[in-house]
């Protein structure tokens, strides 16, 4: 009985929050199409309905397939997706159609993941398959013919007419592998240490995994020239390793190794040096290398506290605003209120993800949920920090918000996995509660 009540309660909360997200998205869309200098053509209105319909479909799927999962995740993702869609459509109307198609595929992947992954523990069984698939995806852009170099980075794979960024998917697949691998080797990784000078230091032979992860992050950095993904990939591994073992030495070691790799990249690549110089002081190159980041700063400043309002700003002055710099457009037109709302949405996502991780029963589920959440949190921090010039800029996407298929599909899969873990835990808890009730009744 209590299980059923819990179910409908959680999903009804989700429905209510989704409606709120829908109203906010729809309102923003209408605002953008009104105004004196409306930039949204009227024929894009049906596409908005498609987006809202898709979120409804995701909700129905959650009701059936993961009824007891956390109710916050989907509405938050929906809100970010919706706001992102409004900005993509407003900034580059010709991308509105493709973006709603990507959203459809993302929701499809979400439902598909819930259908195929009936129990999160099942994933643990295929760990080496995942390892192979993940590495394959990661290295795919390096293949001749298939691989495409765009904007100086080799991250793309050409499949027929669409370009795909396999790295986006690889990080999730590898996260699953890391989780099961680290959990399996956890006793070795944490017990195989000696205490030296007040710190647990692992024996050399147990440094293999971290060395391997480092080498792969270097491969991404040097051959695919993708600093952002390299940092994300390595930070993810180190975080998971530390969470599982509680050995500070891994953090220090990881930090040192990444610093060494970065310094090497700084020495070897002109474009890395340029990035760092531009980050430290973009003003001397305001017309060339610093143009984008300076125009973004001007956009944030123009937005001020409350923003210029939708369609009233001129964020088109920022190159690549629809893909890498959407956040600056939000800053200009929705102001600090809007950017703070986006930060809060991401923090709530991270918070929900970590809560799921803490409540999960098995070590594998805990670690997997932590890793998936870390992907979301670290990735959004890397790009938000880059756009606001808090850290050097690296071109990775803002989850759910930026334009792009690979990113949307991967993030919806990530979301579905978190929902699955959350559901499994709640369902088990509920089952236990029912069992206890029955035992008590039987006893009485």
């Amino acid at each position: 009985m209590s299980a059923r009540r819990l179910t409908s309660g959680r999903r009804n909360t989700e429905l209510g929050l989704l409606l709120l997200a829908g109203v906010l998205t729809g309102g923003a869309y209408v605002l953008a199409s009104l105004g004196r200098s409306a930039s949204l053509p009227a024929n894009l209105m049906p596409l908005l309905l498609v987006i809202l319909g898709l979120l409804a479909a995701a909700h129905v799927a959650a009701r059936r397939l993961a009824p007891e999962a956390d109710p916050l995740l989907l509405p938050l993702a929906g809100l970010l997706n919706g706001v992102g869609y409004v900005f993509v459509a407003r900034l580059q109307p010709d991308l509105a159609g493709p973006q709603s198609l990507w959203t459809a595929m993302g929701v499809g992947a979400f439902v598909g993941t819930l259908v195929f992954v009936r129990r999160s523990r099942d994933l643990e069984r295929y760990r080496y398959t995942f390892a192979l698939v993940g590495l394959g995806l990661l290295l795919m852009p390096l293949l001749p013919v298939l691989g495409q170099e765009i904007n100086g980075s080799r991250l793309w794979v050409r499949l027929g007419v669409v370009n795909f960024q396999p790295g986006e998917l690889a990080k999730i697949v590898l996260c699953v592998f890391f989780a099961s691998y680290i959990v399996e080797k956890q006793p070795l990784l944490s017990a195989g240490t000696r205490r030296i000078a007040g710190m647990w230091v692992p024996e050399v032979k147990y440094l293999g995994p971290i060395m391997l992860a480092w080498v792969f992050s270097l491969v991404i950095m040097f051959w695919e020239r993708d600093l952002g993904s390299s940092l994300l990939f390595f930070a993810l591994f180190i975080t998971m390793l530390w969470v599982a073992t509680d050995r500070t030495v891994y953090l220090i070691l990881g930090g040192a190794m990444f610093t060494a790799g970065s310094l090497l990249a700084f020495r070897v690549f002109d474009h890395v040096q340029t990035r760092v110089d531009t980050w430290l002081n973009p003003w001397p190159v305001a017309d060339s290398g610093g143009y984008q980041i300076i125009q973004a700063a001007f956009a944030f400043a123009a937005g001020g506290f409350a923003g210029t309002n939708l369609s009233q700003g001129s964020p088109q002055r920022i190159p690549a605003v629809a893909t890498d710099f959407t956040f600056a457009a939000i800053g200009e037109e929705l102001g600090l209120l809007g950017t703070a709302a986006v930060l809060v949405a991401f923090l709530l996502l991270v918070g929900s993800g970590l809560r799921i991780a803490m409540r999960a029963d098995s070590a594998f589920e805990k670690l997997l949920a932590t890793g998936l959440t870390a992907i979301l949190g670290i990735q959004s921090f890397i790009i938000l920090g880059g756009v606001t010039r808090l850290i050097p800029l690296t071109g990775i996407t803002l989850p759910f918000v930026s334009y792009g298929g690979s990113s949307l599909i991967s993030n919806y899969i990530l979301l579905a996995l978190l929902l699955r873990i959350s559901h499994d835990q709640s369902a088990r808890a509920a089952a236990e509660a029912v069992a206890q009730d029955q035992t008590r009744m039987a006893a009485a």
């Binding site: 530390w242 700063a297 944030f300 800053g331 970590l354 870390a374 938000l384």
Partner: protein, 485 residues
């Protein structure tokens, strides 16, 4: 594991808090600084489709105006005289912001400055009455054309101003560009043109007259001479400098030679008349670094002239400490070489200061501002900028400069029936070319015009001196000013 997960959560909160702090800086606390940054053209974009007043010359020729268009921009900025006034009007571009008068008088042109909000103006605001204002410059098209013609296709600058009030009468820079291209609505074309202009090795976008510094060469001797008189280091009669072909310099084995290897000397007026390097180098050593540096600063060196045009640069004369261990540098700086660099505007202001009894007036291009009803709502009020030297020193220096034109290196600036004061300059650049200069004012006793002419990188040789190349241009320009009532 839960403890670590919690710690990770806290780390994420810290990272996102840092983002929030940075956003507060960008959007609230630092926003004003970013909004007003010179590179930021967003204000221009906002103003781009608004009504905008016109700019005209003192002789009533329209040089910048807005015309209505059918596209989203509503208005197109046009410059009917194209290249002729490019470095004065500047441009008003959607992509690249504004320069020149378009920048400094943006508020007046858009009507944001002239109209204080008051009750009786409220009606005008509601009726959307035209709030824009027109700016009339002190520059005349007639003189601008003459100076342009005289300069021809030689790289350089001509600055003419009224020494009594600082009003710029002509300001010509070559090469120049057509601002119409940058004001266009096709941003692709604008970008292309901007790229081409920036890549041009002749730098047509650069207003050489007030944004580029050159060795002033011997034209700087006016400053050295006036400073010597002011400090009492020399008078017009003493000392008498020995006739030399070269002056041995302390701390150096390389002596300083006269131009063309000639021999010269005599008292100060004689040394200035023939532009004697050995005498002036000795005078520089006699003066010492402290006095010479202070003297140059008194004429406005090391300060950006407060002209009403954007991004001007200061002319430089190093601080005395720079010469402590380098006497040869001091001697060479006294004759306008080595460490001295001046804009043509600054050298015109040196002449104007001598002409105006030692007081350098603030240079300006704006004459008056009129509202849409053609009523004058603002007139430029002349104000002094620096006191270079006392009046008696200015008078003595003027007499010496008269000698230069009457029977010295600047005879080609003579105007029949008018006494002209001037000084030549031929500054070696070190790559076998010279910047040739002439600074002058006339009439010597009641000056109405001061001029600086600078020709960049002219070939070396006696036929390419400031007296031969620059003086005739200055003469024609001054003659034209004096011919008008």
């Amino acid at each position: 594991m839960n403890r670590q997960i919690r710690v990770f959560g806290i780390v994420m909160i810290v990272l996102f808090s840092a983002l929030f702090v940075q956003l507060n800086y960008l959007q609230v606390f630092g926003a004003e600084k970013l909004n007003n940054h010179p590179v930021n053209s967003r204000a221009v974009v906002r103003d781009f489709s608004r009504p905008r007043g016109a700019v005209q010359t003192s002789d009533g020729v329209l040089i910048a105006e807005s015309v209505d268009t059918d596209n989203a921009f509503k208005r197109l900025r046009r410059y009917p005289e194209a290249e002729l006034f490019a470095h004065l009007t500047g441009f008003f571009s959607f992509t690249y912001g504004a320069d020149g008068v378009e920048r400094t008088y943006n508020d007046a042109l858009t009507g944001r400055e002239s109209q204080e909000l008051s009750i009786d103006r409220l009606g005008e605001l509601l009726l959307e009455k035209d709030q824009t204002a027109d700016v009339t410059l002190t520059v005349s098209k007639a003189l601008q054309e003459i100076a342009t013609r005289e300069l021809g296709d030689r790289k350089g600058a001509v600055v003419a101003l009224d020494p009594r009030n600082g009003a710029i009468l002509a300001m010509v820079d070559y090469p120049t560009y057509d601002p119409n291209i940058l004001a266009g609505h096709d941003q692709e074309k604008v970008r292309e043109a901007w790229g081409a202009l920036n890549d041009d090795p002749d730098r047509p976008l650069l207003p050489r007259s007030y944004r580029e510094r050159y060795f002033p060469g011997s034209s700087f001797k006016v400053v050295t001479a006036a400073t010597a008189l002011d400090t009492g280091t020399a008078s017009v009669t003493a000392p008498v400098y020995p006739n030399l072909t070269q002056l041995p310099l302390p701390q150096s084995t390389e002596p300083l030679r006269n131009f063309g290897g000639g021999s010269c000397g005599g008292p100060l007026p004689e040394a200035l008349r023939v532009s004697c390097n050995t005498s002036f180098a000795q005078l520089g050593l006699d003066l010492g670094a402290e006095k010479l540096s202070a003297g140059a600063s008194a004429f406005g060196f090391n300060k950006v002239p407060p002209i009403d045009l954007p991004f001007g640069v200061a002319s430089v004369f190093p601080d005395a400490s720079a010469f402590r261990n380098d006497k040869p540098a001091l001697a060479k700086s006294a004759i306008g070489q080595q460490d001295v660099a001046a804009t043509p505007l600054q050298m015109a202001l040196v002449a104007a200061g001598i002409a105006n009894g030692g007081v350098v007036m603030t240079p300006h291009v704006m004459g008056e501002v009129r509202n849409a009803q053609a009523e004058v709502i603002g007139k430029y009020q002349p104000k002094p900028w620096v006191q270079a030297v006392p009046a008696d020193v200015a008078r003595a220096t003027k007499d010496m400069m008269v000698g230069v034109v009457a029977a010295g290196s600047g005879t080609r600036a003579q105007i029949p029936g008018v006494q002209v004061a001037g000084k030549t300059g031929t500054a070696q650049t070190g790559n076998d070319t010279s910047h040739t200069w002439f600074v002058a004012f006339a009439p010597a006793d009641a000056p109405r015009v001061a001029v600086a002419v600078m020709l960049e990188n002219q070939p070396s040789g006696n036929e390419f001196t400031g007296g031969a190349l620059a003086a005739p241009i200055a003469k024609t320009v001054m003659e034209a000013v004096l011919a008008t009532p």
